[in-house]
């Protein structure tokens, strides 16, 4: 019989709670150093233009201004992820409105603003491409005319404005569609949306006399930023130290270098510490938002609702640089397949350059856009076949032991339970409970991203435990989950764990707070470290108690053998006197997920590790005259494998839904001719508490074979299904299908008027 769990699986308060609720936690934006200057970035004002001249002479004469830098002042390097196409400042030309052209450091923020206004830049406008269709049109201007010279990972398929085309090819899609009784073709569109983190991107940089730069940054990936800065500054990574204080949210928007490079470059130029913080306008015009997309689906189905084949294409408007685009376009193909058994697939994901801001990663990158299309179409198909949408899904979903779209073996599949429990909870048998009221359901799957994690775990002489991790706590509670694993394994309490995190100088490597992986990977690294410490503790205790190590166990902060016991504190002191203290290095890397390599092309992410499954159900009302949508109930049944801390798993679900409802109903960054027309939080509409019902979470637990205690990644998934679930409920309520996000009141009213003249 497995021992009863004391710490994991319990709804304990998070380790960082006290500092955050009392306002004591220092965030990057709070960080101040003596003599610190304020940095600001001058941003391009043309979507596509040759830079004729940058003249900063007037700016440099202004009071308080210490430095102005532009492309001429930095090494001519291109950096990036899968594709290195970015530069710190625009060189020769600007490619989007908002692209950094120069940066200034001044004694005050106001002086820096004044300096920006005094820099004269002369542009010679060039023809630009404003959307995917324009970028792919024959003879379209190239966003990067020298795209072929850029370095990239070799598997990418690139051509002109296409910076990757990833494919899944399975079976024979022609045959699959020919076998179908009905073939459904639809097109869906989604708009660019921002992560909406509370704290803007912020960094403070300071150089020391030895030529090392320290950067306090609210990044999710300190080790990636360290490497990127090494490229930009042309220094070995060891000369760059990244520390992450508190982060006011990230959601994928703080993965890549944001303002750290400006702070570091300005600090080097001035010899003073420099802080750079973005404004709301910069966030909404020049950050790393979620790509707008066009999705085309052609799906074959038999009369009795069996999916026979699917042809699909999703085009990501990735903006002026590739950013996360090539990877996101790859992941998207797995979402286009859906959590369904479809024998014949031809799925393509395109990342396309346009003259807009560089899109990036946003909580389950590609998930919401592709799932919106897939799950909207499932409902359309069900309606056309006269089937219940739930039944159509149950007929086609993946189950234990099925194959994923690229041939991976699926295990721990809790999807059927998710669908049935979400449907039961929402009262699915009464799908249209009143006039203009309807219920919708949507389901999906997602990955638990790999990448390695290391932790150092030390047992202190008072018996408490120090957990030193390179991962950053970005507000998800993930490191509390990992600490719970450690506490469980070492027989201590969660309050005994002290956390040190995210300092590239002293903490072990971690792949970073991304891809729903932190509690999963750091938790597993903690398990490994705990196993090592048990060996060390038992070796010491064995001598101390005169008992064979095999007979020992850990219980309530002690090593115990029958009636004999010795405390962890005593053993730690003993080790300090004799053996340099109790410390262990635990590591984890998710094992590779085998897949059929012949089924993919130019694919950066061919299989989902320890996949999670989920179903969302919503009950809403539409005012047919004003188009106003009111959500009455929202239910999520998510297969989390095992909930390390149910409270924070539910918190992730609630936040993910709120953010997803934003994309579903109200949020969009609106571009007109290459310029954002709503670059402020007045007109970029994130939902408020009044826009959301209480979100009901059902934690389904089909354990993963790899995760700690069977846990799967939980952070990203709840953001995937809201647009589809809401779209399906709106269609159920009013009988009209909206195929573009956001589903605004205006779209609803106009669609209804078109339907009933």
């Amino acid at each position: 019989m497995a021992p009863e769990l004391r710490v994991v699986g319990k709804p304990l308060p998070r380790v960082d709670a006290y500092g955050k609720v009392t306002g004591k936690t220092v965030y990057a934006a709070d960080f101040t150093l003596p003599g610190m200057l304020f940095g600001k970035v001058l941003r391009g004002t043309e979507p596509h233009a040759r830079i004729v001249r940058i003249d900063a002479r007037r700016a440099l004469t202004l009071p308080g201004v210490r430095a102005v830098i532009s492309a001429a002042d930095v090494a001519d390097v291109r950096y990036g992820g899968a594709l290195k196409d970015e530069t710190v400042f625009a060189r020769e030309k600007v490619r989007y409105v908002g692209q950094p052209v120069a940066a200034v450091a001044a004694a005050t923020s106001e002086a820096a603003e004044a300096a920006l206004a005094a820099i004269d830049v002369v542009y010679d406008p060039l023809p630009a491409v404003f959307d995917v269709e324009g970028a792919l049109a024959p003879g379209a201007p190239l966003v990067h005319e020298a795209w072929e010279t850029y370095s990239a990972i070799p598997i990418l398929y690139r051509e002109g404005n296409i910076c990757n085309r990833a494919r899944i090819l399975a079976g024979d899609v022609e045959r699959g569609l020919a076998e179908a009784d009905r073939v459904f073709e639809h097109r869906f569109t989604t708009r660019m949306v921002h992560q909406g983190y509370t704290e803007p991107r912020a960094a403070v940089a300071a150089w020391d006399s030895a030529g090392q730069v320290t950067v306090w940054s609210n990044t999710q990936l300190p080790f990636e930023v360290q490497n990127t800065l090494a490229e930009i500054l042309q220094l070995p990574p060891s000369r760059i130290r990244i520390l992450v204080p508190g982060i006011g949210g990230g959601f994928g928007g703080k993965l890549r270098v944001g303002v750290e490079h400006f702070a570091a470059l300005l600090a080097r130029k001035t010899g003073r510490p420099v802080r750079v913080i973005t404004t709301s306008e910069e966030e909404l015009t020049a950050a790393y938002p979620r790509q707008g997309t066009i999705v085309e689906l052609k799906t074959g189905v038999t009369r009795d609702g069996r999916l026979t084949g699917k042809q699909g294409r999703i085009f990501f408007d990735t903006g002026a640089f590739a950013g996360s685009g090539p990877g996101v376009a790859s992941v998207a193909t797995l979402i286009l397949a859906g959590p369904y058994c479809i024998p014949n697939l031809h799925l393509e994901g395109y990342a396309v350059y346009t003259n807009k801001t560089n899109c990036g990663s946003f909580r389950a990158p590609s998930g919401p856009q592709a799932n919106f299309a897939v799950e909207s179409q499932m409902d359309i198909i069900a309606d056309a076949l006269g089937m219940d949408p739930l039944d159509l899904r149950l007929r086609n979903i993946v189950r234990e032991g099925d194959e994923g779209p690229t041939g991976q073996l699926l295990t721990g599949v809790g999807l059927e339970e998710c669908l049935r429990r979400a449907a039961d909870a929402i009262g699915w048998n009464d799908r249209r409970p009143g006039p203009s009221r309807g219920k919708g359901i949507a389901c999906g799957w997602w990955t638990t991203t790999g990448g390695s994690s290391g932790v150092y775990v030390k047992i202190n002489p008072d018996g408490t435990v120090a957990l030193n991790t390179g991962a950053a706590e970005i507000g998800t509670g993930a490191l509390t989950g990992a600490a719970q694993v450690l506490a469980e394994q070492l027989s201590v309490e969660l309050s005994d764990i002290n956390l040190v995190s995210a300092d590239t100088y002293s903490t072990p490597f971690d792949f970073g707070a991304q891809g729903s992986r932190t509690a999963f990977s750091v938790g597993n690294a903690c398990r490994a470290a705990a196993a090592d410490l048990r060996r060390q503790l038992f070796a010491l205790a064995s001598r101390q108690l005169g008992v064979e190590p095999d007979a020992l166990e850990l219980r309530e902060r002690h090593v115990v053998a029958g009636g004999k016991r010795v405390s962890l504190a005593d053993l730690s002191r003993l080790s300090q006197q004799s053996g340099g203290g109790l410390i262990a290095h635990g590591t984890f890397i998710a094992p590779p997920t085998p897949y059929d390599t012949k089924r993919v092309e130019a694919h950066v992410y061919p299989a989902f590790h320890s996949p999670s499954f989920h179903a969302h159900a919503v009950d809403l009302a539409v005012d047919p005259e004003t188009g106003e949508v009111t959500l009455h109930r929202y239910v999520v049944a998510q297969d989390v494998g095992f909930a390390l801390n149910p409270t924070y798993v539910e918190g992730q679900i609630e936040g993910g839904v709120a953010q997803g409802v934003g994309q579903a109903l109200s949020e969009e960054i609106v571009y007109e001719n290459g310029r954002v027309v709503n670059p402020n939080l007045t007109d970029y509409k994130m939902p408020t508490t009044l826009d959301l019902p209480r979100i009901e979470s059902i934690l389904v637990q089909h354990p993963s074979a790899v995760g700690p205690y069977g846990a799967k990644g939980v952070g990203e998934p709840p953001n995937i299904e809201p647009p589809a679930a809401v779209a399906n409920a709106v269609a159920a309520a009013i009988g009209v299908r909206i195929t573009s996000l956001p589903i605004t009141a205006e779209k609803i009213v106009m669609a209804l008027r078109k339907e009933t003249p």
């Binding site: 106001e110 005259e625 004003t626 106003e628 109903l665 109200s666 609106v670 027309v677 709503n678 007045t682 007109d683 509409k685 939902p687 408020t688 508490t689 009044l690 826009d691 605004t744 009141a745 205006e746 009213v749 106009m750 008027r753």
Partner: protein, 290 residues
């Protein structure tokens, strides 16, 4: 940005400062519009004249009239016991201005002089036949709110004048007000369209004696829909008639298309919301009559 900051202790000294600096000065009340505009670089006053030390401007007086001091906050309107009955529309307008923090400091006077066509309290005040009083070096003048509003951000106020009070007549029996707003979300929202109405019925609660309909965010200023008002007066306000009033109101407005909504949608919202806001007035009158 930099400016000289003044804290005059009286209305007369505030006006004297404004007279001295003319258009280089701005009055600071709640600051929820002024500071935002300064921060966005849209306004750069050389002098900011704070009204915080000026006594008496934050009172709500109810005698033969209702008189609101310019510094009465939206929160004070929401909470005032005077406005929970017939004046309910005023509370409904005030309670959807921005968020709690904005309503705690933003003022009625500021909302009026900011002259946003989307202001939420202004249509209710128009429906209440409000008049505003301005004090300048040459003395006081009072003019109807409708005349006071000239265009987006523009009023009849001269730079050296301070808007001191807003005043409207008491509502008699068989009267009610209501306010409705449409936006993309349910709070923290700038109106895509807002409508306010006041209705007074005859003693038998049958015919409409007097109607006022005001529309926000559909023209350069908040405006009255007079044709819609006229069609109601003297008639039995049946649902069909309310819809006609809605259609007339929609015809009266001249909305623009912008990132928030198209002009066509705004017009449709007016057509929908006007009958609803009138129906709400009728419900309230009948409830009070019971």
């Amino acid at each position: 940005m930099s400016f000289e900051y003044h804290e005059p202790p009286s209305v007369s000294e505030a006006v004297a400062l404004a007279a001295r600096f003319g258009s280089e000065a701005r009055f600071l009340a709640g600051g929820t519009d002024l500071i935002v505009q300064i921060n966005r670089g849209k306004l750069a006053p050389r002098h900011v004249v704070s009204l915080h030390r000026v006594p008496g401007l934050d009172t709500i007086a109810v005698d033969g009239h209702v008189t609101l001091g310019a510094l009465v906050t939206h929160r004070a309107l929401e909470r005032s016991p005077h406005f929970q009955g017939r004046y309910r529309g005023l509370v409904e307008g005030a309670q959807v201005v921005g968020g709690h923090q904005v309503r705690n400091v933003g003022t009625v006077g500021g909302n009026i002089v900011n002259a946003s066509p989307a202001a939420d309290v202004v249509p209710v005040l128009l429906a209440l036949d409000a008049a505003v009083t301005c004090l300048g070096p040459e003395g006081e003048r009072t003019l109807p709110l409708e005349e006071f509003l000239v265009g987006p951000g523009q009023t009849q106020r001269r730079p050296e004048e301070l808007l001191t009070t807003v005043r409207f007549p008491l509502l008699g029996p068989n009267s009610a007000t209501a306010f409705l707003k449409a936006g993309r979300r349910k709070a923290m929202e700038i109106s895509v369209v807002c409508v306010a109405a006041r209705m007074t019925l005859d003693a038998g609660l049958e015919r409409c004696r007097e109607a006022r309909i005001a529309l926000g965010a559909v023209a350069p200023t908040t405006l009255r829909a007079r044709a819609a008002e006229h069609v109601l007066e003297g008639e039995v306000p049946r649902a069909e008639l309310l819809r006609r009033a809605g259609a007339l109101a929609a015809r009266a407005c001249q909305p623009i298309s912008d990132v928030r909504a198209s002009s066509q949608f705004r017009r449709l919202l007016v057509e929908t919301l006007v009958p609803r806001v009138l129906a709400r007035c009728l419900e309230r009158i009948r409830e009070e009559g019971r």
